[in-house]
Amino acid sequence: MISAISRTEAFALTVLPLVLIPMVIFAGLVEYFGQMQDSVQWFSGLWLSRWAYELSLITAYDRGVEILGFNYDGSVIAFVVITFMLITFTGGLVWKLMSMDKRK
């Protein structure tokens, strides 16, 4: 999406931190997920890293998830959210590419 929306490479590279830094902040470790305010918890749900991190933790280890405030029952929801994001962004990408050859 970012690459397709950007008109120049410089623009794409400048926008990138805007996406990547929240990924770091909202993943659930820098600030423990459990310690975020409710509204922030919702907001963190917009970022892929939060779901990917939760899902990876649950899969990789049998312990430690509670410390961060994640839940062992969360894997299905995380998977569904990631899949939903995948469909949305792929759809957006196709739409953007299609709109590029509209005739003026």
Binding site: M1, I2, S3, A4, S6, R7, T8, E9, F11, A12, L13, L16, V19, L20, M23, V24, A27, L29, L48, S49, A52, Y53, L55, S56, L57, T59, A60, Y61, D62, G64, I67, L68, I82, M85, L86, F89, T90, L93, V94, L97, M98, M100, D101, R103, K104
Partner: protein
């Protein structure tokens, strides 16, 4: 100026086919007329064959009745197999001159236009013609859209038939695809987008690359509230090499975009061989070759690879590797690039092909599909005079082969003007100041060197130029096409490659070649994931660090995916747009991107999980790998 005998449209005197209905123009017209037929040069219809006498016979047309008289020919005139000296012809009579020629005739009764009689002669020495690209064919057509053995014309009884020989792009008769069908002289047979008449095949006349006539009918284009193109009509015939000139901002590019269907006019119409490109843009995708001003090329590829990949992408469903490679070498030869096949295209910053060579490759991509109509945006800007001339020479050759060529240019020196057959001069505000022969342009503007045409343009207002042109003789000959065109469908564009898997394979191969060619970047991409994994192993020790280590893994996966993907589409934007105009499928394009990027993601995820698992005790390492890989897939669609 002459009228088409079938639909009555105005055509250039040189037109072989009517611009509106596509019918051949070589018919004889009149309420009453005498048509003489023979080998001598003073005949109405000249048949240059030893079997025909100097003055063989005459046709007397009087109020619709057609009488044929033998003029003491050596080999005689036969009607329905009976030798005659004089006879009134009925519809369906088969006339033979000597034993060699079948004389095919037809009488039209076009209301209000008198009676028209078409005369055509079919050489009957052979009764079968194989048409195709293979040199062994009776009529070889050197065009990539024609199959090796495309179709067969044969005589059965007194009628000619055409039969498709399993060609890839099909054989079309008057616009309809046929397997086998009877052919009469007024039919137009289209093979690989190139129209023929029965006569042109059996008489052995020269076959040209394409017969694409473009007509613009009262084109108007508004940008916002400003009128950028002001009521422009044009007749461009096959084989014309037209220069489009005008001051900056006069609307050259706008007019060019309208003519090749990139932009949609606010009013008026553009027709190719009589069919509107606005109503049926999809029919003409393969018939246009639009060459953009910037060299839109993958700079990492070799010249030959660039041509081959474009060939495969556009025609790969019908042609195998060797055929496309053959075609690419043919284009290389045409472009005078022999010996430079393996030069990397490069860019001005990175050493590679020279500017002139890049321009030629840029043009070559379009030549791969032999389009009937080549449109070029400033093909020679920024070139030294020698390269400039070379490009013009190549284009002139294409035009001489029957392709229609239109280019915008700023270089209007005397030398450059000599290559052009016609010029279009635009005054400000998109008003047509002149469209006519290139060598008469100076006279029209009252200057002695074409470079002063722009100065001359400033002497009158654009409107005055527009009105002056409407009163000139050129207007009637080149611009006037008010006749109501008949719908016509004889010249369908050939099928381009729309096969999803074929496109994906070509795109993946090309994308892979491009990526691998950039050694430094490739090495870095391969190095970075193991390096991060090793750093993680080094820094994080013991159970307490598990959460942090995994956090770094997730972030790395996302981050690496980003840096791979985010440059992709934005960097290829212009290439994407150019190929979209031809036949690129968006799903195929995206799939190809995903396939290559996922191969890298696969490698990177494997490294990250594999190496860190030496240090950390994952309960489900494979599951973790799958999740991270899935994450990177999402990341790609986000970043691409």
């Amino acid at each position: 100026m002459k009228d088409c005998p079938v639909c009555g449209s105005k055509n250039n005197n040189t037109a072989k086919f009517c611009v509106d209905c596509g019918r051949p123009m070589s018919q004889v017209q009149g309420d009453s007329a005498v048509i003489t037929i023979g080998r001598g040069e003073n005949n109405t219809v000249i048949l240059n064959n030893p079997a025909v006498s100097n003055f063989h016979c005459e046709l007397v047309i009087n109020n619709g009745a057609v009488v044929i008289n033998d003029k003491n020919s050596s080999n005689g005139v036969y009607v329905n197999g009976v030798k005659i000296t004089s006879k009134t012809l009925k519809k369906g009579d088969v006339v033979t001159l000597g034993s060699k020629f079948v004389f095919d005739w037809e009488v039209y009764s076009a209301s209000g236009r008198g009676l028209l009689c078409t005369t055509r002669f079919l050489f009957q020495g052979k009764t079968e013609y194989i048409i195709g690209r293979d040199p062994s064919c009776d009529r070889q057509i050197d065009n990539i859209k024609v199959s090796r053995k495309h179709c067969r014309l044969f005589l059965e009884g007194n009628s000619w038939f055409v039969e498709d020989l399993g060609s890839s792009n099909g054989t079309f008769l008057n616009g309809g695809k046929v397997a086998k069908s009877k052919v009469i002289s007024s039919d137009i047979l289209t093979v690989g987008g190139i129209p023929f008449s029965l006569e042109s095949i059996v008489s052995g006349s020269k076959v040209s690359l394409g017969e694409t006539a473009i007509t613009a009918h009262h084109l108007v284009y508004y940008g916002g509230n400003r009128r950028l193109i002001d009521d422009i009509s044009l007749n461009i015939s096959p084989g014309q090499f037209v220069g489009l000139i005008g001051d900056s901002g006069a609307g050259k590019t706008t007019l060019m975009y309208l003519l090749c269907g990139i932009n949609r006019p606010s009013g008026g119409d553009v027709k190719i061989n009589g069919e509107s490109i606005i109503v049926h843009p999809e029919l003409f995708k393969g018939q246009f070759g639009y060459v953009p001003q910037d060299d839109i090329l993958h700079r990492e590829l070799k010249i030959i690879e660039s041509l081959e990949f474009t060939g495969k992408l556009r025609l790969g469903h019908k042609f195998d590797r060797s055929e496309i490679s053959e075609k690419a070498y043919e284009v290389i030869k045409k472009l005078n690039l022999k010996g430079k096949e393996d030069v990397i295209i490069g860019s001005p910053e990175k050493k590679g092909a020279s500017g002139g060579q890049r321009k030629r490759v840029n043009l070559g991509l379009e030549l791969m599909t032999d389009p009937g109509f080549l449109v070029l945006d400033e093909p020679t800007s920024g070139l030294d005079p020698l390269s400039d001339r070379e490009v013009m020479q190549i284009l002139r050759k294409s035009a001489d082969n029957g392709q229609t060529v239109l280019l915008t240019t700023h270089n209007i020196s005397v030398t450059n003007f000599k290559f052009l057959t016609h010029v279009i001069v635009l005054a400000q505000e998109g008003k047509l100041a002149y469209y006519g022969p290139a060598d008469e342009a100076c006279g029209y503007f009252g200057v002695d060197d074409p470079v002063y045409i722009f100065d001359a343009l400033k002497r009158k207002t654009p409107d005055e130029w527009k009105n002056a042109y409407r009163k000139s003789k050129y207007f009637l000959n080149f611009s006037y096409n008010d006749a109501k065109p008949k719908p016509h469908t004889s010249m369908r564009a050939p099928a381009l490659n729309t096969d999803f898997f074929n496109q994906v394979v070509t795109l993946v191969t090309r994308y892979f070649t491009v990526t691998v060619r950039d050694y430094e970047r490739l090495a870095l991409m391969l190095f970075i994931a193991p390096a991060i994994a090793l750093l993680v192993n080094m820094l994080f020790v013991g159970e307490a660090a598990e959460l942090k280590a995994l956090f770094i893994l997730v972030i790395s996966t996302i981050w690496l995916g980003c840096s791979n993907a985010v440059r992709e589409i934005v960097n290829e934007r212009s290439i994407f747009k150019r190929e979209r105009m031809v036949n690129l499928s968006i799903p195929a394009y995206l799939t190809s991107k995903m396939v290559v990027l996922l191969i890298f993601s696969f490698y990177q995820t494997t490294c990250l999980v594999g190496i860190t698992s030496l240090n950390f005790n994952y309960s489900n390492g494979f599951g973790l790998f799958l999740i991270l890989f899935y994450t990177s897939l999402l990341q790609l669609s986000w970043d691409c």
